[in-house]
């Protein structure tokens, strides 16, 4: 927390220097930072949270803040259940070329008030805008149905989160505004959120226009035995399989030996 605030102070100072405007791009100079630059997944992991700190440079505090925490994009598949001989089976497959594996968006007001629809699409501020359909949708349904279903299902898993509004009492999952333009947003990462590289984007909108933004990477990584097991299973799968079998044989042998003695 202290480290993040220090980083923030530095950034606030350096902000005017950093402002390198690229044509058609909004300056990435919003002073914002993430308290955790690395989240460790050990054997006691039960989920975590990402805390974003930032500073709205507008003296009168005008403008709206949008914080997007996003996991890597991966292909996804969605099926609609269909009744066949009285059984509900998975039919009507639709593939998504890419969809964010984790997507949390926090905003001080409803996104439709903050930004025009075109900007929401352009900056991918809502999860449905970020999912790319790769295949034709079956008859009787539209791409929007499948997009909405994807968002609904992932929201139920806690992987997609949308939070609107501000709070003054540090409620988790909303943006807290402090005096002097400081803001803080806390995003809860459930245990089933993918273990990967995340990126945190913070946007400042004013008068339905994007003023500035900031991007900070956050790395979620396995540590200790979790990491060893996962690496072994992925890099040397045959060795991993043999080890599992040897372990099983050891346990079986041990049990038999114990059984014999008693």
């Amino acid at each position: 927390m202290r480290r993040a605030l220090a980083a923030l102070a530095l950034m606030a100072l350096a902000a005017p220097v950093q402002a390198q405007r690229q044509p058609g791009d909004v300056a990435r100079d919003l002073p914002a930072a993430v308290a955790e630059d690395r989240i460790s997944v050990g054997s006691d992991y039960r989920g975590s949270s990402i805390t974003v700190f930032g500073f709205n440079p507008d003296r009168r505090g005008r403008g709206d803040i949008v914080v997007v925490v996003r996991g890597p994009d991966k292909p996804a598949m969605l099926m609609r259940k269909r009744r066949v001989f009285g059984l509900w089976v998975n039919g009507d497959r639709v593939a998504f070329a890419s969809a964010p594996t984790f997507f949390a968006v926090l905003s001080t007001q409803s996104l439709n008030i903050i930004a025009p629809a075109a900007a929401i699409r352009q900056y991918e501020l809502d999860p449905a805008a970020s999912a790319e359909l790769a295949s034709e949708t079956p008859r009787g349904s539209t791409g929007a149905d499948y997009r909405a279903a994807l968002v609904r299902l992932r929201r139920a898993q806690g992987l997609y989160q949308e939070q609107v509004g501000i709070t003054n009492d540090d409620t988790q999952g909303a943006i807290t505004l402090y005096r002097g333009g400081l803001f803080r947003a806390v995003v809860r990462l459930p245990a089933n959120a993918p273990i990967d590289e995340y990126q945190v984007d913070t946007y400042l909108f004013r008068d339905r226009r994007l003023i500035s933004s900031q991007r900070t990477p956050v790395n979620i990584a396995r540590i200790g035995i979790e990491r060893n097991i996962h690496d072994l299973a992925n890099q040397y799968p045959v060795l991993y399989g043999i080890l599992t079998v040897l372990f099983a044989l050891g346990v079986g042998w041990g049990a038999a030996a114990l059984f014999r003695r008693s």
Binding site: R46, R93, A156, A233, Y240, V245
Partner: protein, 303 residues
């Protein structure tokens, strides 16, 4: 709570130990391998079905090895028959794992596993209930009279005959190979050892003497499940070592306790109870596919 590195979810250690211990207890009590109880239990607990199937196998491997260790001294394994069944099993594994991967890619694997378990649990549960009911009513030998062992089965008539000295048989190699094949495929798709099919088939189809049946079945189960664990680790990366360790620890302790208590209890009552539990579990799988879903869309390929 412990975080599972491959299933990528936290689970309650005590809950898994209790469940695997309970499953081990029941399998020790009744004398079955336990694969067909452990995998559906994991699925019901919320472990992704592909991980449950592949990881449950490692526990079956541990149980069958422990069984073999206590049996080989009694020279009760027909190694030649076991090898032949295992060769069939290896071919079955290749087909089973290929199907597993294909269904995983199509997003239909969970559904197929549910359907297979629905059939398996309902039929095995029903058979156990019916059999123990018959025994309790005092008609002990009715089952045997229906399945009266024929002097010569199809195994004796097919070509490519071979001598099996330990079993005292001279039969075709085709039925054991086919049997092994089917069980290998089933093991890959369902995470079961297959003893509940293999043992009756050995007695009634191959006409093996009963004293070598259990040992030989355990031997084939050990070979098939060990190989499958390695193949699944390579092909689908669905083996969770942490979960496997928990299952084995709970399973072997439970099995020991179960075997001791089982020696003192009436077999038919235990089997009736297990049959009832299996039917109850199958109803859960039935509900999954019959009850109209509230959410008609499903995510596929998450695992």
């Amino acid at each position: 709570m412990i975080y599972l590195p491959i299933a990528e979810m936290p689970v309650n250690v005590l809950l898994i130990l209790l469940v695997s211990g309970g499953v081990g207890f029941v399998s020790g009590l009744v004398g079955v391998g336990g694969g067909f109880i452990v995998t559906p239990s994991l699925i019901i607990l919320g472990i992704p079905a592909p991980v449950a199937v592949a990881t449950g196998l490692s526990q079956v491997a541990a149980t069958s090895f422990s069984g073999i260790m206590t049996r080989t001294r009694r020279r009760s394994v027909d190694w030649r028959m076991g090898m032949l069944l295992s060769i069939g099993g290896m071919i079955g594994i290749s087909l089973g794992v290929w199907l597993f991967q294909r269904l995983l890619g199509l997003g239909q694997l969970d559904l197929v596993i549910s359907l297979l378990y629905l059939l398996l649990l309902a039929s095995v549960g029903w058979l156990m209930l019916a059999e123990s009911y018959a025994v309790m009513r005092g008609r002990t030998h009715r089952g045997v009279s229906i399945l009266r062992r024929p002097a010569r089965t199809i195994a004796h008539r097919l070509p490519f005959r071979m001598l099996f000295p330990r079993s005292g048989l001279y039969i075709s190699v085709i039925p054991p190979l086919t049997l092994g094949f089917g069980i290998g495929a089933l093991a890959a798709l369902m995470g079961v050892g297959g003893g509940f099919i293999l043992i009756p088939a050995m007695i009634y189809l191959l006409r093996m003497p009963t004293n070598v049946v259990v040992g030989t079945s355990l031997f084939q189960t050990l070979i098939v499940t060990s190989l499958l664990v390695i193949v699944q680790a390579k092909a689908t990366a669905t083996i969770d070592l942490v979960l496997a360790a928990l299952l084995m620890l709970g399973g072997v302790v439970g099995a020991q306790l179960g075997a001791r208590l089982g020696a003192r209890l009436k077999g038919e009552q235990i089997r009736a109870l297990l049959g009832a539990i299996l039917i109850a579990a199958s109803i859960k799988f039935l509900a999954d596919v019959v009850v109209p879903p509230q959410e008609t869309y499903v995510l596929g390929g998450a695992w």
